[in-house]
Symmetry: D3
C-alpha cells in the first residue's frame, strides 16, 4: 500500500516524462518490495517557481540569475 | 488538532460535494475523538489526470481506455 | 483515486477510533463521489505533543497548562 | 535536510510575502538547528477557498459571511 | 528541486530495500528530468498497520484475515 | 489558515529548538500575512536517517562517512 508524492518545480515537465516517472517508480516498488501495483498510487505536484524556496531564495529569482537545477 | 488532506484526481468535484466532505469528516472527527471543530482543518487537493499514476499508468491514459474509478 | 492523510496529536486514539475514522471517511467518499472504495487509501499520522504547534505554542505546553482540544 | 511545506488559503499572497516567508524560515532553521541552508527546501501551496474547510465550513462560505482570518 | 515522499505500511522494509528505492528514484529523476541529484531529497514514512485504511478496513485487520499486498 | 509541516532528519532536535521553530514560524506568518495565530498549526516530523535520501544515498550512510548537514 504505497503512496508516493513527487513535488517539484513547474518547469515544463512533459506528459511523457510524467509517465516515465510513474511507470519507473511503480515498477521499482513492485520489484523491490513485491507489492501489487494495483495498491501503488503516485501523485506529481508541480509548484510555481515563486512558491519554491532553496537556500532562502525563491527559485524564480534563482532562475532570473541564470542558476538552474540541471545536472552538471 | 487534526489536519486532514484529501488528495484526489481533478474530475469535476462540485462545490457542494466538497462541502459535504468537509462537513462530514469534521463531524466524524468531532464525534469520534471529541475534538473541538475549531481545531480541525481540512484541505482538498485536486490533481490533474496526467499527474496521478495508478498501477504504473497515468489516470488520463486509463480514462482514455474507458477505465473509470466509479463504484461498481 | 483519493488518498486521505489525517494528521493529529498523539493522545491515545484507540484502534477502534481509528477504524471508525477509516470506515466513515471511506464510506463518505464512496457515497459523495461515487468512488470505488478499493481506490481509497487513508493514513493516520500521530504527532508527538512536542512536535505540534498551535498559536505559537507546543501542544505539550498547552496541555501542561490544562488547555485541551476537547469539544466544549 | 529539512523540507518545509506551507499550506494556506489562496487569498492574494504576494511574491514579496512569499520571499519573506522563504527567507525567514530558512534563516530560522539555519540558526536554530545549524543546518546548511543549501539543504533546506520550502514549498508554498495555495489552496482555493472552496477546498479548505475550517470547523466544518468551506472558507469561501466563511468569507461570504464576512468572517476573515485576519489577526485581531 | 524535487522532493519525494514515499508512504507505505510498516511491514519489515529493510535498510537495503530503502537504499534501493532511494537510489533508483533519484537516478530515475536525474535521467528523466536532467535534475542535479544534490537537489533531490526522498523521505520514506512507514505507517503502522492500524493507521492505514484500504477500502474502509484497517490493514492490520486485512492482514489478520490473510489478505496481503503481495504481487500475485 | 496556514498549516506548516517541517520534515527533517531525526538527529537530536531538542524540545527547546522545536519551540523556537514553532514560535518563530508562527510569528513570521502572523506578521507577514496578518493571520490570526489561532489559525496557524505547525507539525514537525522527524525522519529516521535510514529513511531519508539525499543525492541518491541514505543519510545514515552519509553520516557514517562523516558527511554532515551542518552549516559551514
Amino acid at each position: 500500500m504505497p503512496y508516493v508524492k513527487i513535488e517539484l518545480t513547474r518547469e515544463g515537465v512533459t506528459r511523457e516524462q510524467k509517465q516515465i516517472l510513474i511507470k519507473g517508480i511503480t515498477d521499482l516498488i513492485t520489484e523491490t518490495l513485491n507489492k501489487d501495483p494495483h495498491l501503488t498510487h503516485i501523485a506529481i505536484q508541480e509548484i510555481d517557481l515563486d512558491n519554491w524556496g532553496y537556500a532562502g531564495e525563491q527559485v524564480s529569482v534563482l532562475r532570473e540569475k541564470g542558476i538552474t537545477a540541471d545536472k552538471k
